[in-house]
């Protein structure tokens, strides 16, 4: 599904963010990427989202080289990938419902689809009763759940979750991870980056450890080892 082939990323300052990365992620996998701050995890995800381009090598999603996509096709590709960020990145002047609906509107979906799917997505994350609340009226955990509803509403093939529990307490962390597991069980590939040892160890799924911009470890039922 997603393949990194000999990917190297150098920044214009000359720093090496990633060096010769080779990773193959299969459909319906739940992959955690761990590593210390500055190891290159976020750069890896930025490459997947097309926010950054590799200096060398290629990133292939379903036979498409992501970094050779034209603007229009990049938009269409991004609609196939859901994203969840540590800082939630909700649109502050839109309600929870409107934030989720925005992703569907952006994908050009019809009104009747939006009216039926948005409440369903909010149901899935347990926030239907907060549909008309604005982000600043929601707790951190609730904001992240809205972000997850937004990420899944277009039924993406893959979800990128960049430290989604980084700003959350243990209870909310547990709930968010359970939610991601549920989404994975329904058939969506999940790529998760985290610092949380407990999360990784309890998941019992594939773990890729990045160290100094290189893949240090790639284990099928891994633990958090640095």
């Amino acid at each position: 599904m997603l393949k990194f082939t000999n990917v190297t990323k150098l920044y214009h300052t000359g720093d090496t963010a990633l060096k010769d990365i080779n990773i193959h992620i299969r459909p319906k996998e739940f992959v955690s990427i761990v590593g210390q701050s500055g190891a290159g995890k976020t750069t890896l995800l930025k490459l997947v989202l097309g926010e950054e381009s590799p200096t060398e090598g290629e990133v292939i999603f379903e036979e498409m080289n992501i970094h050779q996509l034209k603007r229009k096709h990049m938009n269409m590709y991004r609609r196939r990938v859901g994203t969840v960020f540590q800082d939630f990145r909700l649109l502050p002047d839109k309600t929870a419902y409107e934030n989720v609906a925005f992703a569907m509107e952006a994908a050009g979906r019809a009104d009747f689809e939006i009216e039926s799917d948005v409440p369903h997505a909010l149901d899935l994350v347990g926030l239907r009763h907060k549909a008309h609340s604005f982000p600043d009226q929601l707790s951190g955990g609730e904001k992240q759940r809205v972000a997850i509803a937004r990420a899944i509403v277009n039924q993406p093939e893959m979800i990128i979750a960049d430290e989604p529990t980084g700003n959350l307490d243990p209870v909310n962390t547990y709930e968010i991870i359970q939610l991601l597991k549920k989404i994975n069980d329904l058939g969506t590939t999940i790529i998760l980056t985290t610092h949380n040892v407990g999360v990784i160890d309890n998941l019992g799924r594939r773990v890729i450890t990045i160290k100094d911009g290189k893949v240090a470890l790639d284990s099928i039922e891994g633990k958090y080892i640095l």
Partner: protein, 307 residues
């Protein structure tokens, strides 16, 4: 689908305009100042042009007759001048009329009237007041008059043609007004450019606040057009609201200047002008405001769309 997209764009823009009221208020205020400055500059131009026209319309040629001139001859000259295509009107003022007008004009000046009485007879000559259709034709008319037999002949009835003196004064005023118009135009361009730049920067600042959101929109796969649409709508709304505020603001402003422009001999009342041209002013301000807002938003958002 296009209609759905348009409807969503307008709705989203309108909601954003309303929910981000403080940013909207700041932008509307700045844009109102811009539109008011531009309007006042244009009004200044109109007042100056009207003043120039008024002054030009006051130019005329006075032909003074010798005292002994026969009335038939003078009227005949008047009639023959009326036939000239360059001439708009010819008014014959008899000696008696001139005398009566003089007395009326100086009725409060006893010394002048006493002096007049002492002369014993009417010292004022009969005259013709000639107005041309176009001020540029006066020279030609004067030439024609000077060449006429009645002027050049020893027995001619014309004593004096009083034009050159008026002309010099009027030319001087025309030059001053033209120069101030040119200077006004340069100042106008400068102020308009500064105002537009300030508006552009305000809109850019308003959009800068949303830069994070724009990058999120990009990451959920929204197209450039889809992201840009609501921002351009908001820009247009800034323009429309500012235009309406400017139109309302102009009412007391032109009203207070109206009487002043009237008294100053500009040949117009600014308030009356404003009322007469209200529809075109409203349409122009709406078009100018919404175009300014739309272009500012369109350009300002460009740099944040690169994600």
């Amino acid at each position: 689908m296009i209609i759905t997209k348009l409807r969503r764009t307008i709705k989203s823009g309108a909601i954003s305009f309303w929910r981000n009221s403080s940013v909207s208020l700041a932008s509307v205020l700045i844009m109102t100042v811009t539109l008011t400055v531009i309007s006042m500059i244009l009004f200044f131009g109109v007042v100056m042009s009207s003043t120039l026209e008024t002054i030009k319309s006051k130019v005329d040629i006075n032909v003074y007759f010798v005292k002994g001139a026969e009335e038939e001859e003078m009227i005949a000259l008047s009639e023959s001048l009326k036939q000239m295509p360059e001439i708009a009107s010819v008014e014959y003022v008899s000696r008696e009329q001139a005398y009566a007008t003089f007395r009326e004009r100086h009725k409060d000046e006893e010394a002048t009237l006493q002096a007049l009485d002492e002369i014993g007879e009417n010292p004022l000559p009969a005259s013709l007041n000639i107005k041309a259709k176009d001020p540029s034709q006066y020279d030609a008319i004067v030439e024609v008059l000077k060449n006429k037999e009645i002027t050049t002949n020893d027995n001619g009835i014309v004593e004096k043609i009083n034009y050159t003196k008026n002309k010099q004064a009027i030319d001087a005023i025309t030059r001053i007004i033209n120069a101030s118009n040119k200077l006004g135009f340069l100042i106008a361009i400068f102020f308009a450019a500064v105002s537009i730049l300030i508006t552009f920067n305000t809109v850019r600042l308003a959009i800068y606040i949303f830069r994070e959101e724009i990058s999120v929109m990009r990451l959920v796969g929204a197209s450039e057009t889809y992201i840009r649409g609501p921002f351009v709508t908001v820009g247009i709304l800034y323009g429309i609201v500012s235009a309406i505020v400017t139109v309302l603001l102009m009412i007391p402003l032109t009203n207070s200047l109206g009487e002043w422009t009237d008294k100053l001999g500009t040949g117009m009342n600014l308030f009356a002008y404003y009322q007469d041209h209200l529809v075109i002013i409203i349409v122009s301000l709406l078009v100018a405001g919404s175009t300014l807002g739309a272009i500012s938003s369109f350009l300002a958002i460009r740099r944040y769309l690169k994600v």
